[in-house]
Every structure is written in C-alpha cells, then in structure tokens.
C-alpha cells in the first residue's frame, strides 16, 4: 500500500501546482470574449490584441528594460562577492554570508517601505531609478546563492596550474577562470532577470504613478474584471520567465554533452 499511496499523493500535489496555471494558458486561446469558461473555440485573437494595446506594450518594455539592467548589476555584484566567498578564506565568513542574504530574510514589504522612505528622504522619488535600486537589492541574494553553488566546482588549483605552466595571472584569468565562470554568470543573470520580471510586491511600492510593469499591469487589470487579454499576457509572461531558464538549461546540457563527447 504505502509507496503507491505516496505516489498517488505526489501526483495530486503536482496537479494542484499546475492545473490552475494550465487553465490560464488554455483560456488565453479561448475565442470566448469573457476570458472564462466555457471554451467556445480556439483563437489567437487575444495575443494579436495584446500587441495593439499601447499600455501593455509599454509595461512589457518597462519590465524588459528593468529586468535586463537588474540582471547586469546584480550579476556583476553577485559574481564578485561569490568569488570572495568561495575562493578565499575570509574571517567572519558566517557573518558576511548572513549579511549577503539579509535581503531575503527581511519581508519584502518591509524592504519596500524602508527603501522607499529612505530614498525619498534623500530626494530620490518614485522613479525608474528607485525601481532599479529595489530590484537590485531584492535579487542580489538569490544571485549570490546560485552563483556560489556553481562556483564551488571551479577549483583554484586549475588557475595555479596554468600559472605554473607560464601563464600570467591575467592570462590565467581570461583563458581559464572566465570560461569556467560563464555558466555561473549566465545562471545568475537569468535568475535575476526572471525574479525582477516577476516581482510585484516591492514594485507596487516603488513605481511612479502611470508606470506599470507587466505584473502590476495584470494586477491593475484584475481590479476591473477578468479579461481574455489578461490570460494572453499571463501566458506570454510564463513563456518569458519559465521559457528562458528552460532554454538555458537545454543549452547548458547540450554544451556539457558536447564537451563529454569531445574528450
């Protein structure tokens, strides 16, 4: 009995996690104009309308720009910090680690309020800059955790071996360390981008009036009523934030396979 019951339970848990999301995606293709059941036919109409809706396009551009900038800044900071943690024996390592992940331990609302009030006090009002600062501090610990996990595999002796064979420290970094770092950098950047792209809690506090990101746009549209456009926009979002990591995973797997076959 035991194992079969656990198996059945697990299937139910996975259905619980995915069925509601599958319904959103399904309804995005529904011809019915109320954005709900029943299904009256399949249609791409709502996706077409999405690309004619100026407000949605603007939100999409804001989210993409914000996500990309956040990814660049957070990954740069995160990779440097992770290098320090993984490759050096530093004093106070545990304290430093705790400080680095502190933004996860503080509830996001509190982080949002503190940053908003402090920067406002300094004269930085609700703006794209404030949003960017917020997204950087919010994504940073996640990037550090992911990059650190990937960096542990890169041993320092590989670099030292290169130098003992006559490479300068500079050469060793660019020809040995950097290529080995690339997957970690890519993983961190992807993670930062998707977290930023999906964020709503802090964003609602930091965004200036009239500026929307995709999640806040959906939130605002939900206030009025359910519409098929929300489903199409939601589906597009899932495609971006779940599709990108899956694509990244597929590529890194393919590269790993090629490397294994090559040697």
């Amino acid at each position: 009995m035991g194992w079969q019951a656990i198996r059945f339970w697990t299937i139910l848990v996975y259905l619980f996690m995915f069925l509601p999301i599958a319904v959103v995606v399904l309804l995005a293709f529904n011809a019915n104009q109320f954005g709900a059941f029943p299904m009256t036919g399949l249609s791409l109409r709502w996706f077409e309308e999405l690309f004619q809706n100026e407000a949605i396009l603007r939100a999409l551009r804001t989210s993409l720009a914000l996500g990309a900038l956040t990814a660049v800044i957070s990954t740069t900071l995160g990779v440097l910090a992770s290098l320090a943690l993984v490759r050096y024996n530093i004093p106070l390592r545990n304290t430093i680690s705790t400080i680095l992940i502190a933004p996860i331990l503080v509830p996001e609302v509190v982080l949002a309020v503190a940053l908003l009030l402090f920067l406002q006090f300094l004269g930085i009002h609700k703006s794209f800059t404030l949003l960017l600062f917020g997204h950087v501090i919010f994504t940073l610990p996640f990037v550090i955790l992911v990059v650190q996990a990937r960096l542990v595999g890169i041993r320092r002796d590989v670099e030292e071996a290169a130098m003992s064979l006559g490479a300068s420290p500079r050469q060793a970094f660019f020809t040995i360390t950097l290529p080995l770092l690339t997957p970690a950098v890519a993983a961190g950047a992807l993670f930062a981008f998707t977290i930023s792209f999906d964020d709503i809690t802090g964003t609602l506090f930091w965004k200036p009036g009239g500026v929307e990101t995709v999640p806040t746009q959906i939130f605002a549209m939900l206030r009025n009523s359910i519409s098929p456009e929300i489903n199409a926009l939601g589906t597009l979002m899932i495609l971006i934030t779940a599709g990108l990591p899956l694509l990244g995973l597929a590529i890194s797997r393919k590269l790993a396979l090629r490397r294994d076959n090559g040697t």
Binding site: F16, P20, I104, P107
Partner: protein
C-alpha cells in the same frame, strides 16, 4: 605591499561593492525607518521630525491592528501546516523515486519561474462564478446557479499554499536526499516496521529541511499582501495590506514605518529562534 597582504585584501575588494549596496539599500534604510517611525505626520500632510510616540501607541494598542496581526499569524501558521502535510510525502517520493527524479525536480522548479500574480489569479478561473468548478457543477446539473466560492479566508489560504508549497517540497527534498536510504533498511533488519523506521530514523533526520521549509512558508506567507488583495474579500486584509494602505493610500508614512517595523520584529524573532537552533546554513541549502 607584501604578497600576503595583497592576498588578504583581495576578497574585501571583491566584497566591498556588494556590502556597500546592501548597507545603502537595506541596512541604513531599515535603521532610517526606525527613526522615521517616531516622526509625526501633521494635519496638513507634511512630516515633522521629532520624538513622538503616537505611531507606536497606535500600532501597539489599537485593537484593529492587533486583530489583523493575529489573523495574519494564524493564516501563516495554517498555511505552513498545510504545506508541510501536502509537501512532505511529495518530497519523500521525489527523494526516493528511481526513474523520473530529474523531471520531477525540474517540474518542482517551474513554479518559481512563473509569476506570483499569475499563480494567484489562476484560482479565479478555478473557483470564480465562471470558473472551471462552477461550470462543471452546472454542467452536471448539481447546481443551477454559480456558487460564491471566492473572496474569503479559505481562498486566501488556498492561494498562499499554492504559492508556498514548492518552497516546502524543495527544502524537505534537500534534507531527505541527504539521508542514506540504507539506514531505513538497517532499521528494518533490526526488526522495525517500515512505519517505525520512518518515524524514528528518516523523519528526525529530515527535520532541519522541514523547519527550513516551514520558516520560509511562514515568513513569506505572513508578509504577503497580493494574495489577500486578489483572493480575499474586504474583511480578509492581512498585516502587509495595512502597511500598503498606510503608505500608498493614506500617505501616512511614519505610521507605515511603525507598522512595517512591528511586522519585521515579529518575523525577525522567528528567524532568530530558527538561526539559534538550526543556523541559516540549512535555509541556504534549500535556496541555492
């Protein structure tokens, strides 16, 4: 400078940009709102620096705030319990699965990449008056009219469980994966039943993961305001909704600062208790 000294400085050079950013964008702002919570919003709407206890008196003595704080903690506790009950067996299955473990793990990561707002609103399509459930009930002739299932505390908890379950499963999985399977066999060969060896060997060894998952579910659940805003009724506000109301709607920032500090203090105590007994390392294992 000697090579050793340069070597010792290098990690700090690498760390300094990040530490600066965290100091400027997190630590100083939190300290700032501690000060700010004693300032006062005047009737004309501007904020007066000083040392006034008004915001804290309101935050700590107003029954309205206290009731919502208790409701928030209750909702977070129930959510965490349901996540543990639902998530533990699933995590156990993934950890012990033979064939499709990689696929199960990949699927488990997927919700983290799907927007919180979409996952939350998806329940409107399941439980709403035109939702899947009501459509099915009417189709089968069980009900004539759509039943009102949404916008109550139960749907808020449902939405939170849906949001937080992957955190629980992942953390329990990480600790179960580290438990040697042969330990259970060993207990069995010493005469324990399957159930006994689970209760006395596997379960205790997986408690750190369960605690890490529980802490995340509780803290994230208690700090949310999107779920009650989307799936709750007008009376289902949680504490973070109060903060949002004070800051964004009423523009009473000093009061909002005091309210958010209270939330931080309550949840911070939990994190500290957890850190004292288990250390934050376990939490990072599950997140990384």
């Amino acid at each position: 400078m000697s090579i050793e000294a340069r070597e010792a400085r290098q990690p700090w050079i690498l760390l300094s940009p990040t530490l600066t950013v965290i100091a400027l964008l997190l630590i100083i702002p939190v300290l700032f709102i501690v000060v700010y919570s004693f300032w006062l919003r005047t009737s004309v709407g501007d904020v007066q620096p000083g040392f006034h206890l008004d915001n804290w008196t309101a935050t700590l003595t107003d029954r309205f705030y206290r009731d919502i704080l208790l409701t928030t903690l209750r909702i977070a506790a129930v959510t965490t319990l349901i996540c543990a009950l639902m998530g533990y067996p699933a995590a156990y299955f993934i950890a012990r699965a033979k064939g499709n473990k990689a696929l199960l793990l990949l699927l488990l990561m997927l919700p983290f990449w799907i927007s919180y707002i979409i996952r939350t609103m998806s329940w409107i399509y399941i439980l709403g008056s035109n939702g899947a459930l009501n459509t099915a009930l009417q189709w089968f002739g069980i009900t004539a009219e759509p039943i009102q299932m949404l916008y109550n505390e139960t749907t808020v908890i449902l939405g939170l469980v849906h949001f937080l379950l992957p955190f629980m499963v992942l953390n329990v999985y990480v600790s179960l994966d580290g438990v040697d399977e042969t330990l259970e066999d060993a207990a069995g060969s010493l005469g324990a039943t399957k159930w006994q060896s689970f209760l006395q060997v596997t379960l205790p060894l997986s408690l750190p993961g369960l605690a890490a998952g529980g802490l995340l579910c509780f803290v994230l659940g208690a700090g949310t305001y999107i779920t009650p805003a989307v799936l709750g009724g007008p009376r289902d506000a949680m504490f973070a909704n109060l903060v949002y109301e004070a800051i964004i709607i009423q523009l009473n920032w000093p009061l909002g600062a005091a309210l958010s500090l209270l939330l931080l203090a309550v949840l911070g105590v939990l994190v500290m208790i957890y850190n004292h007994f288990l250390g934050l390392g376990q939490l990072m294992k599950g997140l990384g």
